[in-house]
């Protein structure tokens, strides 16, 4: 009698690994991922390596963001790009050109253009923490290993016909709930971009991709690697960060310099 109770307690209190995960809906998977990726505010210091054929360009920038709506990016290097700042609020893009000392406002179609020639568009870089469940219908396709990591393969179809990444296929790390590979498709089924995560770390108690690579499949032979040198979640952001005044300011505000 005691044994049966013990066994039941044992069974009931065992970590619900295999069974639990089998009961996970694709929406659950996505919201777990979202939990990892989103924060009230985000500060990063980034190194972006763009490879085009045999040419490689490296740019560094810092960024402040509040969700996918508000972003502020300031380039630190190379010298040519130093001081160039980008402010995105909603779908409005404003860019400050230090060489001319002027701000230029751009219509939202600019958001789909490449950022500084990289494989990321302005939208890609600034809306990474967008909640996928809102805009996509998710289906669990399969379970597969990617680069040795067991993943859920989730298929996403956009609820909005006009979305540029009409479907996505995400390989979600079963253990860490981080996307390890994402394939972006156009409505025609054409593969547009592929994002692969190279390194995941624990930062402030969550899993986060610190090194990832994007490839624009419409161009031949290009890829862009992003290395996050510094990341802070939920840190307080100066009030006037998302303003034009901040665009025109002379020196960058950083938490501490890139080494």
């Amino acid at each position: 009698m005691k044994n049966i109770v013990l066994i039941m307690v044992f069974v009931l209190s065992a970590p619900l690994s295999g069974q639990d995960q089998a009961a996970l809906t694709p929406e659950d998977i996505l919201s777990n991922v979202h939990q990892n990726l989103s924060s009230s505010t985000l500060y990063t210091e980034t190194e972006m390596r763009i490879t085009m054929g045999h040419k490689t360009l490296t740019k560094t920038f810092i960024s402040f963001s509040e969700g996918p709506e508000k972003s502020f990016i300031e380039f630190l290097g190379p010298q040519r790009d130093r001081g160039t700042k980008i402010l995105k609020i909603g779908k409005v893009l404003k860019i400050y050109f230090p060489s001319a000392g002027r701000i230029q406002r751009y219509s939202h179609h600019m958001l789909k253009q490449r950022l500084m020639g990289s494989d990321f568009s302005y939208e890609d870089i600034t809306e990474q923490s967008k909640e996928l469940n809102k805009d996509y219908t998710a289906t669990l396709l399969d379970e597969e290993e990617f680069q040795g990591v067991p993943c859920f393969v989730v298929h996403l179809e956009s609820k909005d016909l006009k979305s540029n990444y009409y479907t996505q296929k995400i390989w979600v790390d079963k253990e860490k709930f981080i996307g390890r590979k994402v394939e972006f498709y156009a409505r025609s089924g054409k593969l547009l971009k592929v994002l692969t995560v190279d390194e995941v770390r624990v930062i402030q108690g969550r899993f986060y991709p610190v090194k990832f690579t994007m490839q624009d499949k419409l161009r031949t032979n290009t890829k862009t690697e992003i290395i996050l040198k510094e990341i802070r979640f939920d840190a307080p952001i100066p009030e006037d960060t998302f303003t034009e005044r901040n665009l025109m300011r002379g020196h960058p505000i950083r938490y501490h310099p890139i080494t």
Binding site: T84, A100, R102, Q104, G117
Partner: protein, 418 residues
């Protein structure tokens, strides 16, 4: 050699029937005037096309990367000639080379407040460029680009109007450079020009070469090197020499394109054909008119011919008389027509013929087509038109003169004086 008596007689004869003489001379004058003017006009037009093409686009020889020339319609930014100063130094002494200049060209969108216009930015060396497209000559407002220190811009009148800018206005020019970085500069409009060529006045603007290089991040690189030759017709051979020299010095992938290969030049053989066509038309018209009047004149003077013959004038002499008369009429008409034609040509040479009212309504700038045309008058045209007029007159008068001379004198006399 022609006896004074004849000359005197012929001269008096033509003034006896003033109306016919004047009418005939008028017809000749019109024809000759037309010839002078139209030749000047066509020369002016085709030269202006050619000039414009050579000076603004192709030079006599244009040196650029093969892929740049091939994809020229989309102006690929990254097809640059690096070390252009070295290249210029080495080709400067290729025989036949007169002057050269370099250019940077790329597409971008110019904007000012809410208005924007897609156009081509041309980075030039202001001093050297004067030997090519001398924009200073075409300035209607402001001044030319001087030092590269304060970035100024020269903009066409039409583009300026489109964007609503004037001298001193600032234009913000943003672009992605050859490494995809974002870069921008503001330029002050230093001068506004009007060449009359839509493609230039509406479609592009000029900035100092250094500013263009800064914008694109390509110091010591240019897209094109243009050459003017001492002898334009030697372009093909000189181009080959240049390519050989470039090969020797190890600059692969760079081509020297001579101007004659541009399709536009071939179009100019059209101008020649038109000229001939027009000459034929004028010839026909004038000749027919003269033929008419001479025939009528002879018909009316049958009696007079009879009398002359009865005075002992031989057929040959009568023929000569008629020819002389027509010669005089021809001279009068041709000189008058030539004079007027020359005057009109010279006047319009300076003021130009303005077709802009007609061309303004066309939105797309036509290549090499100007709205204002300047005839190019030369003495040669005047002389050849006058000669032509006189010769037609004589040829046309031949038939009536011959026929008229074949008359029997005796019966004419017998019919009594009229």
């Amino acid at each position: 050699m022609i006896r004074g008596r004849f000359r005197h007689l012929a001269w008096r004869n033509i003034w006896r029937n003033k109306r016919r003489t004047l009418l005939t001379s008028l017809a000749i004058a019109f024809g000759v005037m037309f010839l002078v003017f139209i030749q000047s006009y066509i020369k002016g037009v085709s030269e202006s096309f050619l000039e414009n093409m050579v000076r603004s686009e192709t030079g006599h020889i244009r040196i650029a990367k093969e892929d740049y020339l091939r994809l020229e319609k989309i102006l690929p930014k990254e097809q640059l000639i690096y070390d252009f100063t070295k290249i210029e130094d080495s080709i400067r002494d290729v025989p036949g080379v007169d002057t050269l200049t370099e250019r940077i060209k790329f597409l971008l969108v110019l904007s000012r407040e809410e208005k924007s216009q897609a156009c081509v930015a041309v980075g030039i060396n202001p001093e050297k460029e004067k030997n090519f497209l001398d924009l200073e000559k075409y300035l209607v407002e402001g001044q030319y680009l001087d030092s590269p220190s304060s970035p100024g811009m020269l903009i066409g009148r039409k583009l300026a109007d489109e964007l609503g800018v004037s001298i001193g206005s600032e234009l913000f020019v943003a672009t992605t450079d050859i490494n995809y970085s974002l870069y921008a500069l503001t330029f002050k409009v230093k001068g506004i020009f009007q060449t009359g060529f839509d493609k230039i006045d509406k479609g592009l603007f000029y900035i100092p070469l250094e500013s263009a290089q800064t914008l694109l991040d390509c110091p010591d690189a240019v897209h094109e090197i243009l050459l003017l030759l001492k002898d334009p017709d030697a372009a093909i051979k000189t181009a080959r020499d240049i390519e050989k020299r470039l090969d020797e010095e190890g600059h692969p992938g760079i081509t020297a394109a001579p101007w004659k290969t541009h399709y536009f030049v071939k179009f100019l053989s059209f101008a020649k054909s038109i000229r001939i066509l027009l000459l034929v038309i004028v010839f026909l018209i004038v000749a027919l008119v003269i033929l008419n009047t001479m025939i009528m004149s002879v018909m009316e003077r049958i009696h007079e011919i009879g009398i002359m013959k009865s005075f002992g004038m031989k057929k040959k002499e009568i023929r000569l008389l008629f020819l002389l008369e027509s010669f005089y009429i021809g001279i009068i008409g041709s000189l008058a027509g030539g004079g007027i034609g020359a005057a009109v040509s010279v006047i319009t040479q300076n003021t130009g013929l303005d077709f802009s009212a007609a061309f303004d309504r066309i939105k797309v700038p036509l290549p090499f087509v100007s709205s204002v045309y300047f005839p190019d008058f030369t003495l040669y045209f005047l002389i050849n038109s006058i000669l032509f007029g006189v010769v037609i007159t004589l040829i046309a008068a031949l038939y009536p003169a011959v026929k008229g001379s074949k008359m029997s004198p005796v019966q004419a006399l017998r019919s009594g004086l009229k």
